[in-house]
Symmetry: C2
């Protein structure tokens, strides 16, 4: 295991606090996502890193804090992704559809994150609640939705009585369910919601749904 980047040491022991910490977080993210908080084993996480269990306690304090750190980093990643959203140059309908598609893509690309969120919900969001950072993380996506919605409502394209948080919930629920409930849905109904061949179909379906809702003539019903 001697590479150019990591020259051999007499002892093989290398000191790199940043790398060690990051490696623990990487492995812990995989393990927690794979088997849940209670199902994960601190020993197993340590065994899959190049360091020892001792270091987990040294850097994070304990299993609980490690899980919180995993959540914090995972949420940080999506916040960053949301910050690079660039849809406001489009007209409101296209902008919302594009935003929905980006949400769709992001969920699909980060199944581990979806699993962590499911797990955190089983724990009633207790780690989020006790995290300084996650309490004030906000959501750039929400701001984007708010602005598009306002512009669409002003121009009369969208029905007036829609709220950004609710629309975000609507979009997220479809994207989240598709990934999170993939297994039970597949087992019960014989259809793989994440089948690559069906990807475009569901991506379009999401956009159609959201736009139909936003542009519907509510008086019709």
């Amino acid at each position: 295991m001697t590479s150019v980047d990591e020259p051999a040491r007499p002892n093989g022991r290398i000191r790199d606090a940043v790398r060690t910490k990051a490696e623990i977080l990487d492995v812990a993210t995989q393990e927690f996502a794979r088997v849940g908080y209670a199902g994960a084993r601190v020993d197993d996480i340590a065994a899959r890193t190049r360091t020892t269990k001792r270091m987990i306690y040294y850097y994070f304090g304990g299993k609980e804090q490690l899980f919180t750190a995993v959540l914090e980093r995972s949420y940080g990643v999506i916040r960053e992704a949301e910050q690079s959203l660039d849809v406001e140059h489009l007209d409101p309908v296209a902008a919302i559809r594009r935003l929905a598609e980006l949400t769709f893509d992001h969920h699909e690309r980060h199944p581990d994150f979806i699993r962590l969120v499911s797990i955190e919900n089983i724990h009633e969001a207790e780690h989020i609640a006790s995290s300084e950072m996650l309490g004030r993380i906000g959501s750039p996506a929400l701001d984007v939705i708010r602005r598009i919605l306002a512009s669409g409502q002003e121009s009369g394209l969208f029905t007036a009585d829609v709220d950004a948080v609710d629309l975000h919930a609507m979009i997220s629920s479809f994207c989240f369910f598709r990934v999170a409930n993939r297994h039970t849905f597949g087992a019960l109904f014989g259809r793989d919601l994440v089948d690559p061949a069906q990807r475009e179909h569901y991506r379009t379906m999401l956009g159609d749904m959201v736009i139909a809702y936003l542009t519907a003539d509510r008086a019709t019903d």
Copy 2:
């Protein structure tokens, strides 16, 4: 703890296989839903029944089989509920809206079931896969949707290219997300999706969304 139903015994020991088994299932359902499969403790489940851990192994064989039995009974309950669906006397639009509302109500009334499904998805539906019963449980709701959809498409009310399984996924995703992700969503966005005061709002939103999707003129976009 002496009641009319259960007269005192010299030893307090009563034999009732059916009751014992049902009581274990009740408690196990609560515990598994509360803390997940790995988080649940066989000893704790036993302690909360009027019998002992020995009986769990006697009747179910082990923790894994107990969890499967919990899932089987839980899915059985919704299948029964679905069988009593009675919406086909309504016109297609009203029928779909009513069906969505009943799905909405059912999810809200059975948060433990939602949690069990989330947990089973973390385990990649392995218990469903290995269950004889759950493999062929089917879904009466799906048949209902299929018939309403066919009638609505025939009369030209609904867009033609919609599939029953997909529509079921759409309705379920909204209902499921609202309950399952209540905690993280609340913690991050400060809005309780299950707030009773907002119940009618979200119930209407779901119906509006589904109907808008089904009746939209897809060519507009």
